[in-house]
């Protein structure tokens, strides 16, 4: 009985770990006409804070993000940038109000985000790794495909 309990406990832990890692498997995707295939996390933060506005090929950086009031949207901002959706919007409101950068594009679903990135040169976004498909470029961050 004790051995059975032990095995069940281990199995439960493994299931929880797996679920946890699945929830946090995020990737950065971009339109092929824009971002390089790899960048640092510092550069990624700079992009999502409006501090980088042009790619090397001259295309405008277009930040795309799933709305923070969705489950995945809130997770992205918290895990990748350590900010709430409200803080993220405040940062961008200040930039837009000062005329320094255009506002990000907000989407209700990852599918909408993905379709926008596929059709918009210079666009970049973050989404769940299970939702990626052809037509977008996956960007390695600090050498890792999965954040």
């Amino acid at each position: 009985m004790t051995l059975l309990r032990f095995i069940l406990t281990i199995l439960c832990c493994l299931v929880m770990l797996n679920a946890s890692s699945q929830a946090q498997s995020l990737i950065v995707i971009a339109n092929a006409q824009g971002a390089a295939t790899s960048m640092s996390s510092t550069e990624l933060r700079a992009i999502f804070k409006g501090q980088k506005q042009r790619w090397e090929n001259g295309n405008r950086v277009v930040v795309a993000i799933v709305k923070g009031n969705t489950a995945i949207g809130g997770q992205i901002l918290t895990k990748v940038f350590g900010v709430s959706f409200d803080d993220f919007q405040k940062i961008w409101l200040t930039l837009v109000f000062q005329g320094k950068a255009p506002a990000p594009k907000y989407f209700d679903t990852e599918n909408d985000l993905k379709n926008f990135i596929k059709s918009t040169p210079g666009a970049i976004g973050i989404m769940n790794s299970t939702a990626v498909d052809e037509g977008t470029t996956q960007i390695a961050i600090d050498g890792k495909k999965v954040i």
């Binding site: 501090q51 042009r54 405008r60 803080d87 409101l93 837009v96 109000f97 506002a103």
Partner: protein
Amino acid sequence: MKVIYTFFLYGLLLLIVTASAIAQPDTQIRGFTDVQMGYSAKDKKFQTVLGQFTTFITSEITDRISFLSEVVFEYSGHDAGIDIERVLIKYNFDTQFNLVLGKHHTPIGYWNTAYHHGAVIQPTICRPRMFSFEDNGGVLPIHTIGLMATGESITPLNIGYSFLVGSGVGSTAPFDHDDDKSFTLEAHIEPLEGLRVGASSYLTKVAKGSATLRNDTLAQDMNQLMIGGTLLYLNRLNSPFEFISEFLSISNKYDTRTVNTTSLYLYAGYRIGNIIPYVRYDQLRYGAKDDLFYNAVDMTGLLVGVRYEISYLSVLKLEFQNEKFGDTDAANKVMFQFAVGF
């Protein structure tokens, strides 16, 4: 009649903008406004007033050309007036270099370009005395029409700059009244996230006969030079402490003498969740009571307040304000503001 005309104009503007928004999917329309309530111990009066109503329009016209406008509806007596505060056309070469043409908030210091007319964005109910608007007796040319080169995020020190050549003091939107132009240069570094050190200067010549802030005309030519410094720390994601300080020295040089005026403010706040208690000290000291350009009334102010950020578009502020103008007794006020964006 004036009110009817004003609202007709507003309705027409809204119609044009809505049509533009339909035609241009990258056009965004936002607005900001606030309501204030307060009690003045000096006047022994409790009152509720409307703040400015600001419409804010941005549009991505092409991949590199963008447009921004800020139109404010202000209340004066029984009438409402329209003030076109900013109209900007920007060409973006890169983050480090942009050319912007139009009516700007003059890039002197930090507050004037960071906080504009949206009360929901700025940390206190009112602007510091040195940044009062021109029609509120402010000492600075808050707006300038001209061409500006500006950039940010240069080198790991995050150097930023703005260089604006524009119309001189006393010019209006449709009429640049003389050949003398103004030159504004601002530069700053952000060596650490949230820490900014900056300097700015403004130079212009105001011709004899120009309108002054004393409600008369200038008796002599005046060369005006402003030099200011900024030190601030704003890093809401990593620190609860926030601090902004700015200093400005204004030199009005006439044929017979030079009058120096100084102004400063110090703001500090501490974030506890969504609640930020704060304090601000303001000071404006004119070099001479008979300066030919300024209506020289010294000012000292201290305010203590608390701000509650419901969301990034809705903020409540409550302040105790103590202000002293000239030789009059200091006056106490308690002010409350509900500021929103939409």
